[in-house]
Amino acid sequence: MTFNSLNFFLFFPAAAMLYFLVPQKYQWVFLLISSYFFYLFANMKFGFFLISTTATTFFAAKALGAVSDYQKITLLQNKGVFSKEQAKECKAICKSRKKRIVAAVVILNFGILAFLKYFNFLSANFNFFAKSIHSSAGLPVLKLILPLGISFYTFQAMGYLIDVYRGKYPPEQNPAKLALFLSFFPQIMEGPIGRYDDLAHQLYEPHEFDYDNAKYGLQLMLWGYFKKVVIADRAGILVNTVYSSYQSYSGFQLAITAVVYAIQIYADFSGYIDIATGAAQFMGIRLAQNFNRPYFSKTVSEFWRRWHITLGTWFKDYLFYPLSLSKAGLNLGKFGRKHFHADFAKNLPAIFGLSIVWLTTGLWHGADWHYIVYGVYYGLLIILSMLCKPVFEKINNRLNVHPEQFGWKLFRVARTFFLVCLGFILFRADNLPTAFGVMRSIFLMSRPAVGTSLLNGDFTKTDLLFFVLSTGILLAVSLLQRKMNLRETLAQKSTAVRWAVYCTAALSVVFLGVLSSNDPTQFIYFQF
């Protein structure tokens, strides 16, 4: 069930109303049942994968808890008996057991994800390679299903398990409660990826109907729908048409399309997150922030701290730090200090971590070379900017550039947006040759022999007008958000003003949105 389907418009009001009608003691049970109903509505088979991830995570966390308890009791019972070395040995044995448990379950779950997502990609590349060397060896191409949201709930589950392993909190004792944490319906399909210590207790606590939560939640949902159906889906018409035959368009038109796609993907993904966050808020549950006006970032690193925030922090906590601060990462730093310039050497552990994180980020987005290159592209940009930072600072000092000057800040924002648009070409193109073809046309400002107008397909002049107007509203809202909380400001206005805004937004979603009740346009991040 997608947020923009008719089914959801029937499901959500019913689920939200019943949530407040069931006895508070059973609210979390109701939330679990409705979340599984929401998820399995698309395909019953998906349930097998979700339940197996939930079960393995639950039992592994329990086992980790048992080892920790054993360690505590043993050390307590032998206090004064154990020497320092014996106590250390006890801790080391327990740590090794815990490491084995967590490694087995992390490998199993990421193994399932990798098999379903990447096996056919691997087969295709292996078969291509075998054919090119005239070998008869080949791997089969399997008919695999990819459960919706598998990347999101697997990451959420493994984050929980690693936190239990690290001793951040004790394991959840109730399997049904863990099942709810991993399946909460607003976030299971596209995130935000929740943390157990932030989200779980909110799901299990009783909630009374709160007028402000309901009002702000519905406002946010409406804003999310506006972004999705008025902006993203309309932009999608243009982008899909252009990318289906990009050779027919000039470099300038392709550059415009790249900008339109950047707007589309932001409106699409952040629109989904707004709907999810608003739906959760209606029930009194606060989800983690996933976007913070990313296109106002001054550097690419900052962009990734403000775009898909929960994925970035997941990679930082569970991959970047463990890799960079592993023995391999630290030894690389020591090796660098002996053989390279100090400025370069000090960055080597981080470079090691970043390289793997960005390769994984590319792969996380999909099983295709253009996604891998997308990840590598950002990895290179961030590593290069880190290495060149001292040089840039020297140049800026020489040129007397003041970091707080408006013009300089504007230049940096524009530069970052340009680099991000280039990255999104790699992301949007169906394959690598198309991505490079589009980039070549843009940089050479090429002109096809027979030109095609951007307004020559399903994207009409009226669509262009609505797109420009709605994007203008999005930009204005983003600028205003810097200075005020818009929802609270709106709440202070008179009833007439508030309802005028609500009605205009609702009517624009209904009448200006690219809606189809039979075949709603999918959210871009559903495929991940």
Binding site: F320, Y321, L325, L330, G333, K334, P349, A350
Partner: protein
Amino acid sequence: MEEIIKILKQFRPDIDFENQKNLIGDGLLDSLDIVSIVSEFDSEFDIEIPVEEITPENFNSVQAMKELIERLKDEA
């Protein structure tokens, strides 16, 4: 304390480490700085800072970093 500040200044001379109490929360130190600092602490103080100790609470101020280093030295 002074030794810690000296190390920190190597990486970020622009930050007033003596007076800042919310280095992570205010976004003054990012994850790349943390990795460089931790790797320097490891070799300078001959300790191993485990990943689970990389929390904002342990790196928000010089005092917090000092306490972390002392605790890890005691546990070693």
